[in-house]
Symmetry: C2
Amino acid sequence: MSTNWFSDNSGTMDNLNLIFSALSHETRRGILERLTLGESRLSDLAKPYDMSQTAVSKHVRILSDAGLVTVERRGRTRHCRLNAEPMKQATDWLIDYQAFWLNQFDSLARHLTNKED
Amino acid sequence: MSTNWFSDNSGTMDNLNLIFSALSHETRRGILERLTLGESRLSDLAKPYDMSQTAVSKHVRILSDAGLVTVERRGRTRHCRLNAEPMKQATDWLIDYQAFWLNQFDSLARHLTNKED
DNA sequence: AATTTAAAAAACCAATTGGTTCACTATTGG
DNA sequence: CCAATAGTGAACCAATTGGTTTTTTAAATT
């Protein structure tokens, strides 16, 4: 697919892999949702979950690797906050994709209903 | 996160896991992009890729499990086509999420610029 | 009927994921 | 200084992923 109309060969594909992969786990989506309410310490982030803080820390790391969360060290605590800009890459892919698909669907619908082609 | 404003407890989370996970691999996004051009046999789908047809078949299976592709058996060939409706779930999550985030950002911006709060 | 073709199934493998526990490093507070 | 707190790092584990090759099934072709 290297010569497809969608490709850009600018390294954003790798980002998309990381971003979609990060979004594919419920815990991580939960963390992101939580962070829309405002910045949070790691330990606070971990509280609602029935898993070790170490596990949550790993999830945060994955979000951070995907660029979706930034972690600022402040004393002995880590403060996480959203960085939604990279998320836009994912949204854009989906929107573009849907545009193409809807277009195709419209063509099909036009064809089936014989309205204007 | 079971009592979060985002949750719906209606099983769509599992779908989101499958959908985002399916989207997190370049080959699978490539297949979807290819399918926006129209339906395709599995063997044709596999041609551009430097991997076995079995591997591509597995990718298609993952897309199919996520509901993004439907496979119709026609004689000895399998014909794949898009089913973009489930994709809307992913788009909706991202859009909703961005809305919340942008909202938060606006609040922050207002606060920082001291314009109206 | 025999051969080729399309695709899945099965068995296998290395690498990754998602979790654990335990040890360690800082940092804060008494 | 000492104890408690916040967090990471390392080692470990079972399950999953992404690929392979080989086998099998079923349909099309000759």
